[in-house]
Symmetry: C2
Subunit: 367 residues, 2 copies
Amino acid sequence: MNAAGRIMLTPGPTPLPPEVLEAMSRPLIHHRTEEFGALFAQVIEDMKWVYRTRGTVLMMTCSGTGAMESAVVNLLSPGDATLVCTTGAFGDRFVAIHRAFGLKPEVLAFEWGRAVDADALRAKLRALKGLRAVFFQHTDTSTGIVNDLKTLAKIVHEESDALVVVDSVSGLACEPLETDAWGLDAVLTGSQKGLMNAPGLGFAALSPRALKAVEAAGLPRFNFDYRLIAKSLADRETPWTPAISIVVGQAAALKLLRAEGLEAVWRRHDALAAHARERLQKTLGLPFFAKDPANILTGVVLPAGVDGNKLLADILREDGISIAGGQMHLKGKIARLAHMAYISRADVDAGVDALARRLAPTGEVRR
Amino acid sequence: MNAAGRIMLTPGPTPLPPEVLEAMSRPLIHHRTEEFGALFAQVIEDMKWVYRTRGTVLMMTCSGTGAMESAVVNLLSPGDATLVCTTGAFGDRFVAIHRAFGLKPEVLAFEWGRAVDADALRAKLRALKGLRAVFFQHTDTSTGIVNDLKTLAKIVHEESDALVVVDSVSGLACEPLETDAWGLDAVLTGSQKGLMNAPGLGFAALSPRALKAVEAAGLPRFNFDYRLIAKSLADRETPWTPAISIVVGQAAALKLLRAEGLEAVWRRHDALAAHARERLQKTLGLPFFAKDPANILTGVVLPAGVDGNKLLADILREDGISIAGGQMHLKGKIARLAHMAYISRADVDAGVDALARRLAPTGEVRR
């Protein structure tokens, strides 16, 4: 077995369908042509379908972090009051982006493994005045939780005029999300997770309210300036040379999602998550980390005394299976096994077996 | 013939070698693995070889414009005095980035088609005090000029303490450039031109002086923060998920450049430019736009009365050949035929023939 991860059970990047790999291997086309314009326009239309929005969808060449930064710099002005709800590493990243741009956000932090609590959010909103925006994760891959965005966004709109900004880098096209119906003003994502594509593209879905905020925002931006990106989009172009191959790959991946149907995609994730947890429970019997678990991944708390870093390195080297470990203070303490996007039931089974061979070699379940 | 450009004579993106297409079609590997770390470290080593530097090379997931912005936000502070030398659309872009971040650069503008004049630069530097940085293009694809960076950088260092910042998005690995020997402090590039790769990666080569400036710089940045990128590089990682497929493609393209040898690559561009100009001269006899021509492309001034936009659209539709038109005030007035990177002599000949069939259909040369 090669040293590389030949089965990827990581929560992004996720494995690529052969149709996407084929698309990326075609000779490059130029981005200022009718052919590319038509393909790009279709990607944007398909993304509106994924986002469940009639609003505006913009595309950028960047990582998910770039997409997160783009929302901060396009929606806010110096001195704006904001609230960041953090449930793990990615909420902390929103806070870090705010601070890098001179903003001092209020932070509502929850224990890792817990989702945002609706009552705590309402109480916090009542205590704060003049909030410009409230930031959430849809799913948090550092802990494997999912937030109830429908309820949380409703509370924000009841208690304030703040924009609801959602990082759905790892949630979109895996877990249900309704941009328009739930009143989400900006929803950010990346190409490399539920969208079943290589990393390199960021997307932002924007409500009419968010578009107005973009015009008024005072933070500096150029590369990520939504005004320039929206202006080019009207001509089926991007202001700067896009990652053409990945846009072509995205078109192929979206075609697959369209063929399956979005609700069927959600149901598939539901079923795969249930399968993964049942197998993990039966073969390992270890506690799950998340109290409010998402369908995208399961974090398993490793037995005391097990070196998680070594365990996962061994599995990668010996079995060719990439499983993610814990982040920050959870490094070495949990294993995060993804079951999202193009990851198959057979991939999940191989990952569970690889863990079981090392943690329960006699077949005896530890509890 | 398909509506798409099956021969690309555009100055970026440029056509991809089959080795690069093959590399991008391989199953994705995870970016936090030893396998990716080794490949990424090799890309950085190879880029130092291309840049001719022992300094630091950083990689970002972005367009060339993103790389340009990264230099502005990482090297400068609010209120810093800078000078932008502009020879076309891309110098103007440096100015626009400055202004977006609240800076008011001095601008030394030259007639389109002309390179930066050394005496004018020296005079300007003597008239200005306390400059933090001077910005140049290596080559300007909007006009097809090349700047004599060796001389220009020497003048900057003689007359000031300013950093020399170079946009070599379209020049690197086509025209000679010596980052260390010429005293260039920051050199920016993109993957999609001389580097023979798909668009989506930006690079910055930084001198020790530039690295010091990064620590002192006060402009806000997060996604493009060189400090975070350099810190991750020490672990053979990127701070955010990179465009993995394009990094793998870049490794394949750099292997080809290494096998050919950098000076041989420069000589090949020299020879292909001479060939293109001889063929254009013989078959069309139209004036060349650039007075200080680069080896990367040739701009041809179209005869009065010829609608350049229609001409190039016809060639794309009927012959499947992408040739770029003029930008800004040159729209419709010039054709820009690239002869760079993986573009072959046969590609160039096909492009010249396509122009000649329409502009000199009887074989008669217009002068």
